[in-house]
């Protein structure tokens, strides 16, 4: 019984990391109409940066956020700038970022090799720490990721609903030409939003480096999970993404108890199929931003 509760709770908690990984993807696909596979590379590289900062300079993993967020936000903005310059369509964006994904992956495997890389307990004291809730352990990295994801999701929602920037984003996603006629600069808004999405990827990478071992092939494993979360949550919906991530985490947790770790991707994929068949617009209906 305790095994069940424990697995389900850790499944729910891993929903935090899934949400952090998926929020940026959802925003960039839903609003910018860019399917950015380089997003996965950003997550992976941010994880490796965190590892390297801890390994070489003894940085606290949390402090790595201070470096990774600005670096990847800039990278995301640069990428969006290039997309605007080249006037890429949605499909070309998929292909272009696939090319980038391959380049980043081979850079990662050149620099950090194909071996597992993990911070030890001195570099990353958090991985062995847990908050105990009765006899259920809540590992600190996952818990922190969950809390941060909730804050980020609600923060983004506030940003989209209440601020001028959010109104500009919503206007652009509804009708680009009319928004431009009202004096909104689409390129500037898009660049900022892309920077935001990449910053989320950077945060996700830091938490992933804190909670598990890294290897270059990891990014491919995330495709299924993140894609399921984004579709289930509804494109561009921040709260939908958060809820969907927790559901996917829960499903993955239950599947792991029932059939072992390889069962999780299969169960998650079945959720995706069911979503596409019965509620293709996602749980939050039409996008809420």
């Amino acid at each position: 019984m305790s095994l069940w509760t424990q697995s389900i709770v850790s499944g729910l908690l891993s929903g935090g990391i899934y949400a952090m990984m998926s929020l940026g993807m959802s925003l960039s696909w839903g609003v910018l109409k860019i399917i950015n596979l380089a997003h996965f590379s950003f997550i992976l590289l941010s994880g490796y940066f965190t590892y390297q900062l801890a390994f070489s300079y003894g940085w606290d993993p949390f402090a790595a956020i201070l470096v990774c967020v600005p670096v990847f936000a800039l990278a995301g903005m640069a990428l969006q700038w290039a997309f605007d310059k080249l006037r890429v369509s949605e499909f070309e964006s998929l292909l272009l970022t696939f090319g980038l994904f391959i380049i980043f992956e081979s850079i990662a495997s050149t620099v950090w090799t194909a071996d597992f890389r993990r911070m030890d307990t001195v570099q990353n004291p958090y991985q062995s720490q847990s908050v105990w809730l009765g006899d259920i352990a809540l590992p600190v990295p996952q818990l922190a990721a969950f809390v941060v994801a909730v804050i980020v999701a609600f923060g983004t929602r506030y940003l989209m609903e209440k601020t001028d920037f959010g109104r500009a984003v919503r206007a652009l996603s509804q009708d680009r030409d009319v928004a431009r006629a009202f004096g909104i600069d689409p390129h500037r808004v898009a660049m900022r939003l892309a920077g935001l999405a990449a910053a989320f990827a950077a945060i996700a990478g830091v938490f992933i480096a804190m909670s598990r071992a890294l290897w270059p092939g990891l990014a491919v494993e995330w495709f299924g999970i993140v894609f399921s979360v984004v579709i289930l949550g509804g494109l561009g919906s921040t709260l939908g993404t958060l809820i969907a991530a927790v559901i996917i985490g829960f499903v993955g947790g239950v599947a792991t108890v029932v059939g072992g770790p390889p069962m999780a991707p299969l169960a998650i994929f079945l959720v995706l199929i069911a979503t596409l068949l019965f509620r293709p617009q996602g749980i939050m209906g039409r996008s809420s931003i």
């Binding site: 006037r87 272009l96 696939f98 090319g99 994904f101 491919v220 495709f223 995706l272 596409l276």
Partner: protein
Amino acid sequence: MRQRPWLGPAVTLVVAVALWFYPNLVDAAGWPIFYLLFAYTVFFWVTQASSWNLFTGFSGYFSFGQGAFYGVGVYALGVLVVKRGWPLLPTFVVGGLLASVLGLFIGLVVFRLRRLRGEIFALMTLAVAFVLGAVARISPTIDGGQGIPLSSVPTPDALGTHPQMIFRLGLITAVLAVVVVQVVQNSRLGWGLFSIRDDEDVAETLGVPTFRFKMIALGLTSFLAGLSGAVHALQVSYVTIEEVFNIRVPLMVILMSILGGTRHWMGPVLGALVVHTMSDRLNRAGLEAVSDIIVGALLILMIVAIKEGLYLRMRERPLVTAIGAAVGVAAGFVLGPLDSAVTHLAYTLLGAVLGAMVPVGRRRRPQSGAPATQTIEEVVGG
């Protein structure tokens, strides 16, 4: 071309009959066996790239699923022949059919959607290979995480020695794939797929049976990919999940087709020849680490700069291409040592490709600061 739809398949068949005796030539001339295996690998990639292009190039629906279809074929042979003792030749077809079932299932789920069909199809096919890997890992009847040794598969003697047999099986599948694509390109199905690529809603309104056409094309694509995977299993001595269900196959077929051009059956054939020759030489030179970076960069360059692909580009400017190829041939002799005909082929192809890429006779760009021209270019280019 449109008036003589039989011409393409006829030429392909003649070339195929000629190539059928290539192993005998290699044997008689005492050339290394590598020439056979190299040619087989080109056939393999020609099959895979042509099969990918049949659906994605013609209909515009982007598929990352080539690795999954190919993997189903490989595992069909591994499980059915090695573990169950099925006869070899029917299993090739079964492998193709199983891959077809997978393709049609994905189509059935995704093509019912109204919005975002294209995007969801793309990402669905991206995720499906990983899920198949998970299924294979769970199920001991398929793999169970152990891998399947394939070196002991009994092969028919009628097609010659093992390398000769591999070469001929590869030739048959490649010819089948190319002829299917040629026939489709000049048929109602092909025209229907082109109309879907241009504007699916309009096509539907005009009475094109879009759902049926997409399902037929996807079924053909996945059948060819699975068939070719089953044949390729004979070439691999040990099948593992990690080596089958990864993104290598989709990456290569996408690059080959985009490089050669997706709007003509010749594009993927040319792309497969160029990319495989180059990557073979790069690997031989010990540059595996950078070859992925080159592949990724090339993909980006093609999307940004040469959207129509190399084949149409070369056809537009045969002279520069020929000069480039001639320079390549000469460079091969000068730069030597020419240890192998493949190296010479690589130089020649590289010369032709660079020749075709040289920006001469390019359409004049609209002058900056001319808003009207820019708008027109936006409309035309977008």
